[in-house]
Amino acid sequence: MTQQSDPKFEALLRLGDNTLILGHRVSEWCGHAPVLEEDIALANTALDLLGQTNLWLEYAGEVEGKGRSADDLAFLRDAWDFRNVLLVELPNGDFGQTIMRQYLFDVFNRMNLEALTTSADRQIAEIAEKAAKEAAYHVERSEGTVIGLGDGTEESHRRMQDALNVLWPYAQELFITDEVDEAMAEAGVIPHPKSLQDAWDAEVRAVLAEATLEVPEAHFGHRGSGKDGRMHTEHLGHILTQMQWLQRAYPGQEW
């Protein structure tokens, strides 16, 4: 268990780690997507997410005040110090599962960023302003693909439904609220995660209906063990091994 640190630092890590880990996951498609156009689009999305990561983690390091840069935070922390939700660290699965995860996250990210544009913290508001436009495009893109594949062929429909069944319980973690969220929402720094849930639910369900997909009757949601760092899936360690090996093997290496 880590020492309780500054809630603003924690909140920024959550923002930055979500986009870092998802960005890394999406980048794994580079050169492997089913068609060239999707390959480039996914790589663009990954780069956008890494760009957002850079802004969040840079500021996180500043708030922490121990002289850590965005790179230090990305490449020199171990799994238990990561604050991303489990949804983003899951393996990509097939293309359909990747797109479904992207869509579920994109809608949350756009809504969260829009709310963050009015943050009491000026720097957070400015970062959100910049990132919200990218996030809006990400939603446009993943939403269209979810509908196209969901309401597509028999096979694409089946794959999208399978993806939704796997991912839906994980998506619920996005709205779990703990004392860090409470404190930061109270201070007007971030929106209360719960306050985004109804709008997210309404928008996502409408799109899934258009995609002829059925939202699973989830009797459970994954508990918020990723965002507070209590427990990650086994997959996070594997991502970090790949992502961090160069800085671990050759500390301080630059090129």
């Binding site: 068609v35 060239l36 156009e37």
Partner: protein, 94 residues
């Protein structure tokens, strides 16, 4: 039915006041997706302010074999180029 998505020709306006210019082609299942794909494939480096997409089969083109009858007649008619006027410097590039 072919499983291949149709081919779209992509036109991008680089900046306000310029014409749309053909930049290449890509595959997409429908027009909306073609616009999105064009955005991702051709405007990553801030190349455009407007995108047009046209399904390639809707473009009617001159046949390479007709080059002679279509284009050659104008080759010898240099009087159609108003090159013999003195253009004042203030006019700038025409």
């Amino acid at each position: 039915m072919s499983k291949e998505w149709p081919l779209w020709e992509i036109f991008i306006r680089g900046q306000h006041g310029l014409s749309h210019r053909h930049v290449g082609s890509l595959h997409a299942p429908d027009a909306e997706t073609a616009v999105k794909n064009a955005r991702d494939v051709y405007t990553r480096r801030n190349e455009g302010v407007s995108i047009w997409v046209v399904e390639a089969r809707h473009i009617t083109a001159t046949a390479p074999g007709d080059k002679g009858p279509i284009f050659e007649p104008s080759e010898s008619k240099i009087y159609r180029h108003p090159t013999f006027y003195d253009i004042p410097d203030e006019v700038g590039h025409m």
